[in-house]
């Protein structure tokens, strides 16, 4: 987890738009059509609503890194929101986690060793689990 602390400083300035690759790689995640024009990869990556949402998600992940010892507590309200208001299938949290890991690999290249990846996989699994913990 020391590794995560080191990477935190580097992750936050990352172009958060990259995380919205989710919408390009797994197009069925576009089912929530409040984003507007998602007609092509370039439309998605240039869409200001997508950008804004990417920023929200990234900020949230930054919170996760600060509270690795209590992810369930940190994400309790967000979990309820995703279930009751947003109606998001928790499978999407896993897909986003894997897209995040892939984007980190692109950004950090060789530095994103198998060991570093394993730490991040644990974290994204933890976040996905915390986000689905209040589903009912």
């Amino acid at each position: 987890m020391v590794v995560l602390g080191e990477m935190k400083r580097k992750v936050l300035p990352l172009h958060f738009l990259q995380f919205m690759r989710l919408l390009v790689v797994y197009p069925w995640t576009q089912r929530f059509d409040s984003f507007g024009n998602l007609s092509s990869a370039s439309a998605i990556m240039g869409n200001p609503k997508v950008k804004a949402h990417g920023k929200k998600v990234l900020t949230s992940l930054g919170d996760a890194i600060k509270h690795l010892d209590d992810l369930k507590g940190t994400f309790a309200q967000l979990s309820e929101l995703h279930c009751d208001k947003l109606h998001v299938d928790p499978e999407n949290f896993k897909l986003l986690g894997n897209v995040l890991v892939t984007v980190l690999a692109i950004h950090f290249g060789k530095e994103f060793t198998p060991e570093v990846q394993a730490s991040w996989q644990k974290m994204v699994t933890g976040v996905a689990s915390a986000l689905s913990s209040r589903y009912h």
Partner: protein
Amino acid sequence: MSLTKTEGTIIVSMWAKISTQADTIGTETLERLFLSHPQTKTYFPHFDLHPGSAQLRAHGSKVVAAVGDAVKSIDNIGGALSKLSELHAYILRVDPVNFKLLSHCLLVTLAARFPADFTAEAHAAWDKFLSVVSSVLTEKYR
């Protein structure tokens, strides 16, 4: 699910670069798999899984060679991987969930080594291609 022409072109053109590092890519993919998803080691009790082991390298090469076969016959992946499909169905019987894990680790390996090429479209194409490969490998399971 089948690949579009554009997706096929992306895969084939990237493969030309990828194949020059095929063996190390295979080894790295497996290292990532075993570290991130330790349960996958249960399929290799007979292997020395230390990073850099001869068995890991040999197996990594096999896996990437098979992906290469699929790329070379990208319009007929089912035909190209038919024997492998039978092997996985009748002998290896690897649970289907593990193909997703291996595919993800291969993607991460490619992303780390070819960051400039791994655009959103390329990412989507590779994810889809590996998904097709996985389907072929599990299509005879039952």
